[in-house]
Symmetry: C2
Subunit: 119 residues, 2 copies
DNA sequence: CTTGACCTTGGAGCGCACTCCACTGTTTAC
DNA sequence: GTAAACAGTGGAGTGCGCTCCAAGGTCAAG
């Protein structure tokens, strides 16, 4: 599929996709005319990228994770270990959020929360 | 307290604190000599800012939340409502993380996950 | 009364993640 | 065959969240 279709299907702009290609986050073949050709798997991959990104991972991190996954010998064990790592990362983030949530809930009880003024 | 002490106590650079002041994220009094004077509450506030930021909130969002909280009539009900809102936001983020976690876990089972290449 | 640590204000620069633009080439539809 | 819709490149610009720097003012210790 060419960049326009991928753009529509992924919800990302053409420019963003070209940018992602430059930084190695997505790959593509080139048609004889120079047009980029993307495989169908690129759509779920970009979905994943967007999700991970919205959750606070940088493109560099996401790219590294993807590379690690691709470079791992595809024995189920190694793969599982990598996923376990990523899941631990996600769990850590969730724990932080839970802490923030509690902090908010706690302060909801007290009189004077969260004052940015230095007064 | 002056900016140096606040910097040490909050773990933020002086420059970052000055930047936060410029964008209205922290307030300060000025001593006759022009030095910034920060109140003790600024430390937990900056802690909160850092946490919220690490969890994906922009400084603008954090500032807006803080303002809303300060501007709310300090009746316990209004305050609680605001906190409930923020907590819902946090909950939404947690749900997203849970979904990502599941996606990762699911793919851990399948053979070929997450391929950025358009091949 | 100087030294040094602290503070001030601009303003420039940087890394990230794009976006926009101008100009050019290719393909498709009528 | 020409117009529209698509593709390509390079480079500038943007907003965020800072960092770094130069030039200077303030203040306590020796």
């Amino acid at each position: 599929m060419r960049i326009g279709e991928l753009s529509e299907r992924s919800g990302l702009s053409r420019d963003a996709i070209r940018f992602y290609e430059r930084i190695g986050l997505v790959g593509s073949q080139r048609s004889p005319n120079g047009y980029r050709e993307f495989g169908a798997e690129t759509v779920p991959w970009l979905d994943y990228v967007r999700t991970a990104q919205r959750l606070g991972f940088s493109l560099a991190e996401i790219g590294r994770h993807g590379e690690e996954l691709r470079e791992s010998p595809d024995s189920a064990e190694a793969l599982s270990a990598l996923f376990a790592e990523k899941i631990a990362l996600v769990d850590a983030k969730m724990a932080e959020l839970a802490a923030l949530r509690e902090e908010l809930a706690d302060r909801a009880g007290t009189g004077c929360p969260l004052r940015p003024d230095g007064s």
